[in-house]
Symmetry: C2
Subunit: 286 residues, 2 copies
């Protein structure tokens, strides 16, 4: 059996009892290491499981699935994914290939940021479509996620923004020269994402577009959700562009209409309660 096991968010102990049981008895244990991270790395996981863990990078998962599936007809293979196996990224493709190879699979679910974001007090059923904010490069500054956020704002819905992760990326020079030298991993911070959004707002305004949210729109920054040192702050988009939330992973929420209960809860995390009170009023319904 090929097991896709969610590790949840936080540290090694956020695995489920059911998941840990499989890990302890599996023939091989892989850790998918390119779409998210825990506060604990490979070594800590190995210590906690009492098992060797094999890092699986994108190449391995996408190109060498026959190696992942080897003996899965006779033995249990564990494939670990931070969050939920079908969370922010999808491993549907792997599942389809497993089926095509005649390999049976099972999923052991866990928390992902898509539901854990509820810890900030915004209600999950008033979130709209999720967006991904990617790192800008000198010559490539995509802003198509603005339209999705705008569409959510118009409907009064909150938007969860997943922030970019660059793991095992090559510089253009190394790529061109075919050198397998990788850049250090990069994780987008809330501060950077908020700054990009402010820049997009300026651009839209200069183009005469009526903007769907402003620098004073209430947002929430979250870092290391589920870990002991998680951080949640609320404030205006401008404030969040100036707030340091420490180590990754970070996520950003742009608030839509808010119920008074949501405002009460979010206020507890305000960078500055005075600006929060001033600008949260505009979000209030009911």
């Amino acid at each position: 059996m090929f097991y896709l096991i969610g590790l949840g968010l936080g540290d090694a102990t956020d695995i489920t009892v059911k998941g840990l049981e499989v890990v302890k008895n599996a023939k091989r244990v892989y850790l998918e290491a390119y779409t998210s991270i825990l506060t604990d790395g490979k070594e800590k996981l190995e210590e906690f499981y009492g098992r060797e863990v094999i890092l699986a990078d994108r190449d391995m998962v996408e190109q060498q699935s026959e190696e992942l599936f080897r003996d899965a007809d006779k033995e249990d293979i564990a494939f670990l994914v931070v969050g939920d196996p079908f969370g922010a990224t999808t491993h549907s493709d792997l599942v389809i290939r497993a089926k095509q190879s005649g390999v049976q699979y099972r999923v052991i679910h866990n928390a992902s940021i898509l539901n854990a974001v509820g810890c900030c007090g915004l209600q999950l059923y008033t979130f709209g479509e999720v967006v991904s904010i990617v790192f800008w490069m000198d010559t490539w500054k995509p802003d198509s996620y603005y339209d999705k956020i705008a569409s959510n704002c118009h409907r009064g819905l909150h938007t969860l923004c997943l922030l970019d992760i660059k793991v095992k990326e090559q510089s253009i020079e190394n790529l061109m020269r075919g050198r397998k030298i990788y850049e250090p991993p990069r994780y987008m911070r809330v501060r950077e994402a908020a700054s990009q959004l402010l820049e997009i707002l300026d651009k839209k305004k200069s183009e005469g577009v009526e903007i769907a949210f402003t620098e004073n729109t209430i947002c929430v920054g979250l870092s290391r959700v589920g870990a002991d040192n998680q951080k949640i702050v609320s404030g205006t988009l401008r404030e969040l562009s100036e707030t340091d939330l420490g180590e990754p992973l970070h996520s950003l929420v742009i608030a839509g209409h808010m119920h008074p209960l949501e405002i009460d809860m979010l206020r507890e995390f305000a960078v500055d309660p005075t600006t929060f009170d001033k600008y949260s009023e505009a979000h209030c319904v009911g």
Copy 2:
């Protein structure tokens, strides 16, 4: 410390290692018993934890929080919630009251249907707003969720429909007479939800409204996600209104635009691959 601990979906072993540790050492352990259920009941949980578990109904959580919080300044109290503590329902209100009472709290996250629904192969970042489908009564047939589904459909987004749960409800007669006699729990099935949607479509058509989806729209029915006997089926809305998915809990998804990979995966669960191929084409983009 007051711990809100997600139990995930499925059975007792879907709790996280971190959560189980707290449960084993807490002074008192409450189980929130009115917004969702596991396949394991109170007795099985007690056996697995080796602890007494106190059922907390809505009255207790909403009216008697001082009892829940008693000694939480000195001891650990565990409050267990099926899924994630901030999943389908919100316990923000409880958290705000904890803060007001000077009680510190922590959240131990877990899977909820909001992210676990990804197991059907539809990508989580192309879901729109979640809707709740409620039981109709003879004289009260709300259909306001139709507009939300329609709005998601127009944007090409999938819609997760959470299906109604009635626990500890009184009949109108018992309510009027002040008798604390409760009806047996009721859990809406996919079949019923699909039938209600068909009825709403008929009504809209008879009113001359241009409908956003039809009886041939591809939908997904899921039951007992995370449990050993989970079931996933895909088919038209009409087909799902005629499909039995067994014991609760059930959820229903109305598919929006689909990537070919989503269609490939969903096809694996088709009630009837022929109708699936016929009607999934209309959903295809890319």
